[in-house]
């Protein structure tokens, strides 16, 4: 009996130890994870690290010194270029290794190696998008260039030096939670990351829903509803600038979250030198999308934000120049309908004949065990992303009896060395250097703003723009017709640009790029014009401009939509029909159209506008039982202000004919009902800062590592375009001059470690619209009071 008892007890003990040592599904190995000596507690970084740390690594050519300032930002001092990028790789991995690896796995379609079958669908989609082959093509170009080659190789060596000195207990916390080990880094990893950024910035798949709209309403109505070209929009490139002369007239021009950038010339600034501001708006995440750093060698000194995984600074400044980017929002990807001969998908119709397709089998290794396969079919237009087997575009009607697919033609697949743009910008000394650097940029096109100590300012919408026929690419194209193919590229010296315009500033806010005189057709997913109009209105009266006036402009929450529509809506509203709404109507009449956190009117308007928008479009858009993109706010503004008798306003589901006044009354009543239901009687709980709840999720879907917050100003379609999960991912203002000064802030922090103080230490000041002075150190002994600790990478 005693033997039995002891045996049962020992077996049970072993079983418990085994269970606590094993990852089961996504449940981490609890014992390993909670081990104080080697588990997650090792990632609890002490708050006040100070002094000097020495790390001996394999490859630097001489000692590299890295001063970390009090915001956790590294300032690298290296003796040569190799060591500079080596240190960049090392310090970035030290703070962001898991994020870097996840980005590479996402781009390469290899997430299921860590997360198992639940990530397989996404992996298949990403491999079909072809980012991996695009990165391989880019690698070929980048390795042929001595500059980008050294940057990529040194950066990889630095990341690997960091990985090699890790043991399982010193790995980032996520490797412990998912029980895996870091992957080796190589130059291809960096280019996969670059392509992933390109994918994020390329617009969506509007062609599918546009084609549906054409099917439902006819081409003319679809164009009317979704037209991007409003004559009174202010384009990025002012209409007054000289335009490229095109002898062969070619196709003529007819013609969404967003970013802002602008530069103000010295003639309008307080110190006589230009000022530059940039706040790229993206889906916010923790850790932050950007990683701040300063990199200095005897030949260059640059400060700004980089993308973890990619060498060089992407947005920033050096002693002589500052630059920034917004998405040009041009359409650089088209979808082609492919008709296959049979279900084997080995041949597809092209110009009346059957052409052979190229097929490649992809193998997916799943976490723990198991393998999956997928065949990617390549046509002359590009890879087939959706097809009849598994991935027919869900929302698009199938054609009966046909094996069909949708191939993607995308500028990201073209041969290019985009990295060289940043490599050269980091060292640029003049506007000429900046213009030269931009000629290497390919996908997707960006509005690069420039301000220099040479007192020049400029804006160039740089990248590869396909040469298309009028209207080509708005709808799904026919892959069987050579006539539907792209016709080449807009020449690099014809891309939209402006230098030192008479108005004394340049600006962009993802709006339409060019005026009607521009000789090429550039379609896009352009943002509504309201942010751009507000920026231009404010800049044209801002004299002298200063760092603080530009910071305030970045935080401006004036709503062009409200200003345009509210007078018309209030004049049509029948207050006598609204129960208990007098106070809300009065607050709207007194409102200054700003989405400030203390405004109650902002909440009332936002809810009313949303109800009104639904009331106008829902009846028609849902009557067709097909996936349709609803017309945007600009079309809605147009109906409310200019076309108040439009048939779209009537609710087709009622026998009567509703007027704008009827719809305004009903939607106002409904908005008040909703607000009272959610927030009780009118009071402080109705303030915009309370009702506008934002969140910054953690990258790998662990909710407790994300952050939710309220109490902030700003709203979509205002300059401070903060929506529930999108917003300014980096705010920067740079004052050029004899000594350059930079100011900036991230919505989060430098560290990717949820257990670090630096994970979200900047968030509060970012919410309040403050900027931190960016320490631009000239020597390694500068500003010692601001240095928290020093890291030396030894030979």
């Amino acid at each position: 009996m005693r033997v039995l008892k002891a045996t049962v007890s020992i077996v049970l003990l072993c079983l418990v130890v085994w269970i606590f040592n094993t990852r089961i599904g996504l449940m981490p190995p609890i014992g390993k994870v909670l081990d104080p000596g080697h588990g997650i507690w090792k990632n609890a970084d002490p708050l006040n690290t100070s002094g000097t740390m020495n790390i001996t690594t394999a490859r630097p050519r001489s000692d590299i010194l890295v001063n970390y300032d009090k915001d956790g930002i590294p300032h690298i001092f290296a003796d040569d270029e190799f060591d500079l990028y080596y240190a960049q790789g090392f310090v970035t991995a030290r703070d962001r290794l898991w994020q870097m690896e996840m980005q590479v796995r996402l781009a390469a379609g290899r997430l299921s190696e860590v997360f198992g079958r639940r990530s397989l669908g996404r992996d298949i989609f990403y491999r079909r998008l072809g980012l991996a082959s695009a990165a391989e093509i880019a690698l070929d170009s980048a390795m042929k260039d001595p500059g980008t080659r050294i940057a990529l190789e040194a950066y990889s060596a630095g990341v690997n030096a960091y990985i090699h000195q890790l043991d399982p207990s010193s790995c980032p916390i996520e490797y412990k939670l998912f029980d895996c080990r870091p992957q080796e880094w190589n130059p291809l990893s960096s280019l996969l990351t670059l392509k992933l950024v390109g994918e994020t910035l390329t617009g969506g798949e509007s062609e599918f829903n546009m084609s549906n709209a054409r099917m439902c309403f006819g081409r003319e109505v679809a164009n009317e509803l979704f037209d991007q070209a409003f004559q009174d929009d202010e384009p990025v490139i002012p209409t007054s600038v000289s335009l490229p002369r095109v002898t062969n007239s070619g196709p003529a021009r007819t013609e969404t979250p967003g970013s802002n950038n602008w530069a103000v010339s010295g003639s309008r600034s307080a110190n006589g030198f230009p000022l530059l501001a940039n706040d790229p708006h993206l889906k916010l995440t923790l850790p932050s999308i950007w990683y701040q750093l300063q990199m200095q060698s005897p030949h260059m000194s640059v400060y700004g934000v980089s993308v973890p995984g990619i060498p060089c600074v992407v947005i920033g400044f050096n002693r002589d120049v500052a630059w920034g980017m917004t998405n040009a929002a041009a359409d650089v990807a088209d979808w082609y309908h492919i008709e296959f001969r049979d279900s084997s998908m080995k041949e597809y119709r092209y110009n009346g004949k059957w052409e052979p397709a190229m097929c490649r089998i992809e193998r997916y290794q799943l976490a723990n065990s198991g393998v999956a396969y997928d065949t990617i079919v390549y046509t002359r237009q590009g890879p087939v992303v959706y097809d009849s087997r598994t991935h027919v575009k869900r929302d698009y009607p199938r054609q009966k009896g046909m094996t069909e697919g949708f191939a993607l033609r995308w500028t990201i697949h073209e041969k290019s060395n985009d990295l060289k743009t940043f490599y050269l910008l980091n060292k640029a000394k003049s506007m000429d250097d900046y213009r030269k650097a931009l000629t290497y940029f390919s996908c997707p096109a960006q509005n690069f703003v420039y301000a220099g100590r040479d007192k020049n300012i400029a804006m160039v919408s740089s990248g590869r723009f396909p040469l298309r026929n009028q209207g080509q690419g708005e709808f799904i194209l026919d892959g069987s017709l050579s006539g539907d193919e792209w016709k080449g590229w807009i020449p690099m010296d014809h891309v939209p640009w402006v230098e030192n315009p008479a108005r004394g500033f340049v600006s962009s806010a993802n709006q339409v790029l060019t005026g009607p005189e521009y000789p090429y057709y550039i379609p896009g997913h352009f943002s509504l014009p309201y942010r751009a109009q507000r920026i231009n209105d404010r800049l044209s009266t801002m004299c002298p401009a200063s760092v603080d006036s530009l910071r305030l402009l970045q935080n401006d929450s004036y709503s062009g939509i409200a200003a345009a529509t509210l007078p018309s809506l209030l004049s049509r509203l029948h207050p006598e029909r609204i129960r208990n709404g007098e106070e809300m109507v009065r607050s709207l009449k007194e409102w200054d159209y700003t989405f400030e956190k203390n405004s109650t009117a902002a909440t009332v308007f936002a809810t009313w506008w949303s109800e009104l928008y639904t009331a106008i479009w829902k009846d028609e858009m849902e009557s067709k039982h097909m996936a349709l993109t609803w017309p945007d706010y600009r079309k809605t503004v147009y109906l409310v202000v200019n076309d108040t008798n439009s048939h779209w306003i009537d609710n087709i589901n009622t026998p009567g004919k509703e007027t704008l006044g009827d719809i305004a009354d009903a939607s106002f009543q409904k908005a008040l009902y909703e607000l009272r239901r959610k927030y009780g009687p009118l009071g402080d709980s109705w303030k915009w800062g309370n009702t506008h709840v934002c969140s910054i999720p953690y990258i790998a879907g662990i909710p407790s590592f994300g952050i939710g917050f309220a109490g902030v100003s700003g709203a979509p379609n205002t300059i401070n375009a903060l929506s529930d999960q999108f917003g300014p991912s980096w705010r920067m203002v740079v004052e050029l001059g004899p000594t350059v000064k930079g100011y900036g802030i991230l919505p989060g922090g430098q560290s990717g470690n949820p257990g670090s103080y630096y994970y979200d230490n900047l968030l509060r000041n970012w919410q309040e619209g403050a900027l931190h002075e960016l320490l631009f150190l000239h020597t390694e002994n500068d500003a010692k009071d601001h240095i928290q600790y020093t890291l030396i990478l030894k030979k």
């Binding site: 033997v3 104080p36 000596g37």
Partner: protein, 115 residues
């Protein structure tokens, strides 16, 4: 005696050996040699590791101001960092107690001295 051996060796082994379960054999062997009864064996192992791990976790978590503990607590659906530290230590304490108890049972089974 049993408590002190498991407490000291448990802390030392966690710092030196990269395996969270290093206290399990220590508690087992200690229970085998120094266990004096079922309850005493269990309690000595339980208390030694509960206190030992609480100490080990706190020396890391206090300088961190419990930032990690707070986020990790939410990851495991707990409302406060203290719950995570307590739950971790108690859980490991139970395993340790169970281990020294098993050691004691083995000694009884093989009739090693005095039993």
């Amino acid at each position: 005696m049993l408590f002190f051996i498991v407490f000291i060796l448990g802390i030392a082994s966690d710092l030196l050996i990269p395996a969270w379960w290093s206290f399990v054999p220590i508690a087992f062997v200690s229970g085998f040699f120094w266990g004096r009864g079922s309850l005493q064996s269990f309690l000595a192992g339980f208390l030694a590791v509960t206190l030992g791990w609480t100490f080990l976790i706190l020396i890391r978590s206090v300088p961190n101001h419990h930032i990690l503990a707070e986020r990790a607590a939410h990851f495991f659906f707990m409302p406060h960092w203290a719950f995570l530290i307590l739950a971790t230590s108690l859980l490991m304490g139970i395993i340790a107690g169970f281990s020294s108890f098993s050691g004691y049972l083995l000694r009884k089974a093989v009739k090693w001295k005095n039993i």
